[in-house]
Amino acid sequence: MIKKVHHVGVVVRDMEQAMRFYRDTLGLPVHKLQTIQEQGVEAALLTLGDSEIELLEPVVPDTGIARYLERKGEGLHHVCFQVDDVERALFDLKEKGTELIDQQTRIGIAGRICFLHPTAMDGTLVELCQPLEDEARAFAGSA
């Protein structure tokens, strides 16, 4: 089911300042910057070999990420695994009775995604994703 670690998500208080370390000091190239309105966050994706670091700064108070930052402070937030078919993966998880945050897949910065509940993984917040170009190919294959 799991193809690779797609990215590791990090919650930061100040994107500029985080960029100075991850981009400038560590030398990770930025390949995408995006504001995700519905989650109230600004996201930056930095290339790390064939994986990524995703920096997330909450820009709207009282959203999930903003509350996380208040409660736990900056740091590691989630790990995202790329799967072949996220719909299928979510269906299987439901079958197994896994605790989930998302009952349905949705579009996130990494493509079509869903989040498991951290209690399902003993405290680790896990995201599953299927990049959209993969999804397009899957559709083309089924046509």
């Binding site: 089911m1 590791v8 990090v10 981009r23 790390l48 070999g49 402070g73 900056e74 993984m121």
Partner: protein
């Protein structure tokens, strides 16, 4: 190829008399030259400024060579007035053409040309060679070698108060939908120095700065290359003029009925900019720019805002990839079971290093692995983390190509890093970065031998 200069910029205008009056006002100068090209079938007005000259070009002055007049007529039909061509100066046009052809550029054979000043009867001669539009991505360029001495074209007399006139050209802007094609032309074929290749995600822009002596040709496009843009022609868009006193220049233009917006701070720190608007620009996006001493300081050349450079600077080390993610747990077997049953990630290896107070399990996940870590004593730092934050993601290991170079480089940048030491996994060395530098993330750098 020998160093090229921006010899002059040609603006195509319908009504030469009106355009001459408008540009005399915009530049704050009287023309250097008013003439015609008997061999081309065109007429012109020239303004020489400090570092280049601008040529207003219109039809007229005889039938001439349809290669030139016909092309100008087509330009008016398809685009109207605006920046028409960039003339790249060379000391030896024949050699430049040979070099350009050797790089695969299609260039029309060099030909001699001359012009007559209608007021003084003076003549100027040159030799030039045009690059077909198809070969130059749609931005009209030609090479020119002047055969008359430079003072044959006098500097345009200043006709405005101190500081309120255009002194020099700062940059010329070319819009490109196919940045890679533009980059190939200007870097690989023309051999012009690329001073900067920078992306501004918040403005959805990428710019290339090419330096022709002290003038920049700015190629401007979208942050990401679109598929539709590939093969689309470039478009000459605008000119930026350097003035000493932008407020005084704007006040003078406003008094003459030319609308300006600004002055406002430019994107480059330390600059003030204003745009001139309306019919007086004759289809040229016109920016006036004043540099303060601050804009020449090194920090003003560094990326600002969210901008980043596409040409990566030489680095002491390279972060090659994600090696593993460390996940803390109070019960290794139970958590391993969770990962196995939920995500089908299986334990490939377990480890309790000799003399250590923790146990590890390795769960391969394609490009990286998950390391489950169970501390065996309560005072272990991972045990303290579990007590404070609960179990879960604890740290990430980033693979580097040269750990010692990385540690040296980070320390030179005042980042606290531990001394490299053997890692728990065979054939690895690791160093830990202090969390106060990493936005709270526990990061270890790891090198595999």
């Amino acid at each position: 190829m020998a160093d090229l200069t921006l010899d002059h910029v040609i603006i195509a205008v319908q009504d030469l008399e009106a355009a001459t009056a408008d540009y005399a006002m915009l530049l704050g100068r009287r023309p250097s030259w008013r003439g015609e090209h008997p061999t081309y079938g065109t007429r012109n007005t020239l303004f020489r400024i400090e570092n280049t000259y601008v040529e207003l070009l219109s039809l007229g002055g005889g039938s001439g060579d349809p290669r030139w007049s016909g092309e100008l007529a087509r330009f008016f039909d398809t685009q109207g007035e605006g920046v028409y061509a960039l003339a790249l100066g060379t000391g030896d046009v024949d050699a430049t053409v040979r070099d350009a052809r050797a790089c695969g550029l299609d260039v029309i054979d060099p030909a001699d040309g001359d012009g007559v000043d209608l007021d003084t009867g003076a003549r100027r001669a040159w030799r030039n060679a045009q690059v077909p539009l198809k070969a130059s991505n749609g931005a009209r360029i030609f090479f020119i070698q002047h055969r008359s001495p430079p003072d044959a074209l006098p500097v345009a007399p200043v006709a405005a108060a101190d500081g309120a006139f255009v002194k020099r050209m700062d940059h010329a802007v070319v819009l490109s939908a196919d940045m890679e094609a533009s980059r190939r032309l200007w870097s690989d074929v023309l051999g012009v120095r690329l001073a900067l290749d920078r992306t501004f995600p918040e403005r959805n822009a990428r710019i290339l700065f090419y330096r022709l002596a002290d003038i920049t040709v700015e190629i401007s496009g979208g942050a990401a290359q679109t598929q539709e843009g590939v093969g689309k022609p470039d478009r000459m868009w605008g000119l930026a003029w350097g003035v000493d006193d932008l407020r005084a220049t704007c006040a003078r233009l406003n008094a003459a009925g030319i609308e300006t917006s600004g002055p406002r701070p430019g994107i480059k720190p330390g600059t003030l900019v204003a745009t001139a608007k309306g019919p007086a620009t004759h289809g040229v996006a016109t920016l006036l720019i004043e540099h303060t001493p601050e804009s020449f300081r090194p920090e003003s050349r560094a990326p600002h805002g969210q901008a980043f450079d596409n040409a990566p600077p030489r680095r002491a080390f390279t972060a090659k990839g994600l090696d593993h993610v460390v996940v803390s747990t109070a019960d290794l077997e139970a958590t391993a079971m969770r990962w196995s049953s939920t995500l089908d990630l299986q334990v490939a290896e377990t480890l309790q290093p000799e003399g250590s107070h923790f146990r590890l399990a390795k769960l391969p996940a394609g490009n990286a692995f998950i390391e489950l870590l169970q501390p065996l004593t309560e005072d272990h730092r991972v045990a303290r983390s579990i007590a404070e934050r609960g179990p879960g993601m604890f740290s990430v290991a980033i693979e580097v190509d040269d750990l010692d170079a990385a540690v040296g480089d980070l320390r030179a940048k005042h980042v606290l890093v531990s001394d490299p030491e053997p890692g728990v996994w065979p054939d690895t060395r690791v160093a830990r970065i202090n969390k106060s530098f990493t936005n709270g993330v526990s990061i270890q750098l790891i090198q595999r031998s």
